[in-house]
């Protein structure tokens, strides 16, 4: 058979670029991905009304805001884009194009990681400008946390975006983002929330991601229990998404 398709790498990178540009061109998405995290960062650093724990305020807030960025792109952004792409038949069309279903998943993973990389650079830069002094030796550990968190939240996004109606996905993905921001242990650690929330919040992927980033970038150490929580969420959501995901609406 003749070679009719472009090489696999070209196809995946081309789709990843297309998806990343689409995400960055989307105003609402940019708001959730960059503008709101910057607002949360500046707001929490320059006020003292909300307790973020003991230590330098900026050092505790920045890792949490980085976790918020991961949740914005990996969960909210992906759930919404998958929900609507499914509704408009985009997943079906790309599935029968040379890209295929596997190529589409690889491209989405690449696009999400690129956008998260960009967000972390912007937010990290703003943090440094505000006086953030991370423990640099904790950065490799933080990278692992970001990758595990991305996996868990993308899997949850596929589970949500691949099963509900697009409007439902839109409403729920934004609502979950807001609830996790307020009560999910992302920027305000579970230990700083009213007592009865603590034990439940610790089991959420949002708190596991936030806490593991704080432990890495404030103390330079690894929190295996938080990684464990992220892996369990990743495995469960991946298994459920594999069973329940529907390619068409």
């Amino acid at each position: 058979m003749t070679t009719a398709a472009a090489p696999a790498r070209t196809r995946v990178l081309s789709q990843a670029r297309f998806e990343a540009i689409t995400l960055l061109r989307n105003g609402e998405q940019l708001l959730v991905a960059v503008v709101l995290p910057v607002a949360v960062l500046v707001g929490l650093v320059s006020t003292t009304g909300i307790s973020v724990g003991s230590g330098r305020r900026v050092d505790l807030v920045v890792p949490g805001v980085l976790a918020l960025c991961v949740i914005s792109s990996a969960f909210t952004g992906q759930a919404i884009s998958v929900g609507f792409d499914r509704r408009y038949g985009v997943l079906r069309l790309l599935g029968v194009s040379p890209l295929g279903r596997t190529g589409l998943l690889a491209a989405k993973a690449t696009a999400v990681l690129s956008v998260i990389g960009l967000q972390l650079a912007v937010l990290g830069g703003v943090g440094l400008a505000l006086g953030w002094a991370p423990v640099w030796s904790g950065v490799p550990v933080a990278v692992v946390s970001v990758l595990l968190g991305t996996w868990a939240f993308v899997a949850l996004a596929l589970l949500l975006g691949g099963t509900l109606r697009a409007e439902g996905v839109l409403a729920l993905a934004n609502l979950v983002w807001l609830v996790l921001l307020a009560l999910g242990g992302v920027v305000v650690a579970g230990s700083e929330l009213p007592g009865r929330f603590g034990p439940v919040v610790a089991l959420l992927p949002s708190a596991a991601l936030g806490d593991s980033l704080r432990v890495a970038l404030v103390h330079g150490s690894v929190s295996l229990s938080d990684w464990g929580v992220l892996v369990v969420w990743g495995v469960l959501a991946t298994a459920l998404a594999r069973r329940l995901f529907r390619w068409s609406d």
Partner: protein, 239 residues
């Protein structure tokens, strides 16, 4: 020449409801094959089995000699698909989208040249407008360009001229004819007798999950008007 699309004894049920009940037909290279049939007759299911979007319960589908279910990327590159719901991302703009899709192919069609798809289908006029702001007919033309951008050997087009004004419809017919004349097997589903009469070399009439007639226009109509013959064939099958 062997058929580009060969469907034999195709059956498909959805939760016990019969969608296809042993359909058999074929489409040849260099010809336009029109699939006609009432809504719910099984046309879409049949074409989706050929595109690899659905897996038949019973029967065999061969497209360019291969089983379309889980077919290779090279196979998918040789088959162009225009879906009824378009399959276009709402926030994308037509020109960047088509440029992107063409990058998925080793030897894509001319897109933006003088005789390219964009010029032929008049897409340039709205090439920078997001898909969500396009009219139905404009989306239709972008979806057709997306199906043809890989210079397919087989093209499945779901109602390619539905909702178009008469000029655009003629443009689409000319283009489809040209693609077939260049050697591709074009399979289009339609509700338009005019489209079938003017464009089709081969006609397949589907009713209640079965193929009730297949052949050239003259063979299918047997001297009657296509419209009359169609109603006679499909009423009988439904009753």
């Amino acid at each position: 020449m062997p058929p580009a699309v060969a469907v034999h004894g195709l059956a498909k049920r959805y939760r016990g409801v019969v969608a296809l009940d042993g359909a058999t037909w074929s489409a040849s290279p260099g010809r336009v094959t029109a699939v006609l049939g009432p809504n719910g007759a099984g046309k879409t299911t049949m074409v989706e089995c050929c595109e690899g979007l659905r897996r038949p319960d019973v029967g065999e589908v061969r497209v360019l000699g291969a089983d379309p279910w889980r077919a290779s990327a090279d196979h998918r590159a040789r088959v162009g698909v225009m879906l009824q719901d378009g399959g276009l991302p709402n926030s994308a703009r037509p020109l960047p989208l088509l440029r992107h899709l063409s990058s998925l192919y080793a030897a894509p069609a001319d897109l933006e040249g003088d005789g390219g798809l964009v010029a032929r289908l008049g897409i340039g006029a709205f090439g920078g407008t997001s898909v969500r702001r396009l009219s139905g007919g404009q989306r239709q033309r972008v979806a057709l360009a997306a199906a043809l951008v890989g210079r397919p050997e087989v093209a499945f087009l779901d109602e390619p001229s539905a909702g178009l004004d008469p000029h655009a419809r003629l443009d689409v017919w000319d283009l489809v004819r040209e693609v077939a004349d260049a050697g591709a097997a074009v399979v289009l589903t339609t509700h338009s007798f005019e489209e079938a009469e003017r464009l089709a070399d081969h006609i397949v009439v589907v009713a209640a999950g079965r193929v009730v007639a297949e052949g050239t226009l003259a063979e299918v109509t047997a001297g009657e008007r296509l419209e009359d013959r169609y109603f006679a064939l499909t009423r009988k099958a439904v009753a």
